[in-house]
Subunit: 281 residues, 4 copies
């Protein structure tokens, strides 16, 4: 029996002449109905990326095996049915990103199952209740970071999410936590032109009189706020904005950029390579 | 002897299973060094587009012949060395688009040879002289449209340009003129949100109090200002702008959008199909 | 006893020399603590606008009377406490604008009391329930436009809203309905560059291959979709978007532009004059 | 005899109740025809800014004296006829910003007299010649920074410019040079989201995979690249851009932002206060 859902094939490997030919020959021989096909070669690193969206096939294991025979030995090959991913959202006190994602999920805009919300505060519980979304309050007060993360991991174990989405979760994870979800944690943070390092970035941005504020959605790696960037956007501000008003105005761009990044990830449009993303949008 | 320059292969035809495989097999068998490869399928019309950038090959006629054997009978196949195009610019009185293109050309930003400027007015002659660019003043006063266009065609005949770029050329061509340069005339015009039809669009936009003005670069077809769109952009305005100030502010977006569109065309990134463009950027 | 809340004074009238001096003399003589003051003169129509935000005063009637003595006879003077407005939202089937406004209201971002939602369909009832927001389903099927509007007016009578916000309410009001809420109905609609008149605008935009889609928030007047514009924004699209995907992508810009326009109105930043807005942002 | 040109009055001082009233009383008593009037209060610092554009007055010294009597003792008052400023441009090797400003100047878009170009390289001499603009080549090779700057100051002395505009001038000035033109040097530099400190910012931005690049025009102070920001803008990039292509794409936004900033300064729309700008646009 045929599987009619859309699947996405990801291939990335060292570049060689004839890769597209070799790959498409196999896809053609298996009768794949290709809906969309995109390739990119990182010329500097001589590295090849290909995203193929197709419909109506089973026996993907056979295809993968056949591909492996014609690709370089270290090639990465994966195939994912679109809409099959699961997500847990994490947040602290601010409702704008969380509420926006819950709304989009409720109305089918996110091709994923959002399974629960985890927070270090209680304030967003009513919002989750309004959306019938399980809410786990795991307070961080009075325990050390490792103990707090252990409690979070216990809760997450029940959901086995493919992705964690940090919707203004204001705590930093330890490297060992991040390792549990390699390239599977998505974060949003404010950004400036130029950037301001250290505490109170909006206050620093205000003092410098920036005319543009922005937001960056990125993959979380050990290197705090410096993982591969998925999406960014900005909005104009002016001298009449206080630091607080800049932060407030930044909410709109934060929520849109996070939602955009999550949708790109869920549609399997994002490859990560050497701390950069390749985004086939 | 090898030809080391970059060339771009364009293929578009009715979509079929296995097209990419069949095409890349031939490209591979001829040893093409593919720098960049992009495909798009217009699902609604079941139509296939492919742009392949490659280096270092001669015998492109043989390749084209081989491709023709494996593609649908009505397939369009063309191959163009990048940087080989010639352009004539046309303008009326406003210097912003013309001056911008002349500057970009002087500093090698346009991968084309700009051969001359044709104008129905004399006012831009000194600008062309400053750039050592041949300037042809072909006044339209006192003669009919056909006679004027005949004079223009006489001048153009000496240059045999691949493209005509209307850098604020404020006259409308007859269908028979447009037919002489099918899909080879690029125009820029102001655009609004919503659009205003008829005379004095900036005046109408002012009266409605628009908050955004824009510009659209498009291919000229018989259907005035309604040919396929190549590029668009906008900039914000507010109540303090008079109609004249809107037109003035619009100049910056007009010149950037026209330059962007021209560069896309010259890099062979634009396909035209059913009054739409497919732009591989 | 002092009133500590922020109030906004609106003055607009024919321009004359010395207006700011005469107005600020009176405000100063009453000891107003001015937080923010903005003026604009529409030079073309020789018309003056002033918005003054102040704190901590009562006896606004006395001030208004004093102002009237020094201003042109037809001057408009009004004073509104910020945060005092009431709003009823109207929607049809699409949840994105309604959900976004309900979220912003729940978290105090809208300085107004949203009192209820009125819809010609039932599908958004659960969303309103989740936010504990009264929902009135007033079906339009099987009755004429006047009867339907009469039912809506009956419901609205209970709430006496200052503003009606059409959050993708897909029906057109009769002139007599609009007259009941003069300059007090705010609508959002998609916009294109160029605009497409008539049915299925996204389909027309797709056929033309537009590279930018947008949204316009405006005041509803008799002239359908042509009332004064409050806010506009755009987002880029490309050839890979189907008409449906353009409409879908347009949702993000629609909800942001509507929220922005509503906030501007609620902060008393919008003047309407001759089918244009003056927006002090 | 009346002076019919437009002038701009700048006042900034500690905020007090009644400032606008006291100022406009004096302006009214002198019969000023105010075209435009804008105020801003920096609430955090309790500091007041006012920009008044007026026509047709002489005896501005009397007005200034009268104003001084009613304003706080340390008030700054200045009055400048619009279009009266002189500018010297400085550049190194890149033509995009310089060419753009020379074009705008040639066509009357800059309300200033551009008097000359100074460069540490010779490569832009032909561009200046094309625009009949005096060009001074002052090489920096083989001499120390102070000697180089002394030569520049010698040349500048002949022009006595109000503003120096650094149109991609790639050398850093000593504090003593900057002191000679306090708040009168305007610079453009690339900006990123987030910013990258140190050498090769485009290379760093590439490595991180940024999706947005930008430009910042600012006043030069001792604090390199950290003076008050006048204008900023961004443009989108993606994974297909090499570091060089990012730098190249950045040229369009650099030239537009620099031109915008210069126009704001020349229209006397920029106030500087505590390392921030107040921009009345």
């Amino acid at each position: 029996m045929k599987n009619e859902e859309t699947q996405v094939l990801h291939i990335h490997c060292a570049d060689e002449k004839g890769l597209i030919y070799r790959i498409t020959e196999i896809l053609y021989s298996h009768g794949l109905n290709i809906v969309n096909n995109q390739e990119f070669v990182d010329a500097k690193n001589s590295y090849f990326f290909m995203r193929t969206e197709f419909e109506g096939v089973d026996g993907i294991e056979t295809i993968t095996n056949d591909l492996r025979k014609v690709l370089p030995t270290k090639a990465h090959i994966s195939c994912t049915p679109v809409g099959n991913r699961s997500v847990v959202l994490m947040a602290s006190k601010e409702p704008h990103c969380l509420g926006d994602l819950l709304l989009r999920h409720k109305y089918g805009e996110l091709t994923a199952r959002v399974k629960a919300v985890v927070s270090n505060h209680e304030v967003l519980a009513p919002l989750c209740k309004a959306f019938d979304m399980p809410f786990h309050h795991i307070p961080a007060a009075g325990i050390d970071r490792e103990a707090h993360e252990a409690s979070i991991l216990d809760v997450l174990a029940n959901y086995a999410p493919d992705y964690l989405v940090l919707a203004k979760y204001m705590r930093i994870f330890t490297p060992s936590f991040v390792e549990r979800y390699p390239h599977r944690i998505i974060n949003i943070h404010h950004s400036f032109l130029p950037a301001f390092v250290g505490a109170s970035p909006y206050r620093q941005a205000y003092r410098r009189g920036v005319k543009v504020i922005g937001a960056t959605a990125h993959i979380v790696t050990d290197n705090l706020d410096e993982g591969p960037i998925i999406a960014q956007d900005v909005l104009p501000v002016n001298h009449s904005f206080s630091a607080d008003e800049m932060a407030f105005a930044g909410r709109d761009v934060e929520k849109n950029v996070l939602a955009k990044a999550l949708k790109l990830v869920l549609q399997e449009r994002v490859f990560i390579y050497k701390n950069r993303t390749i985004v086939f949008d």
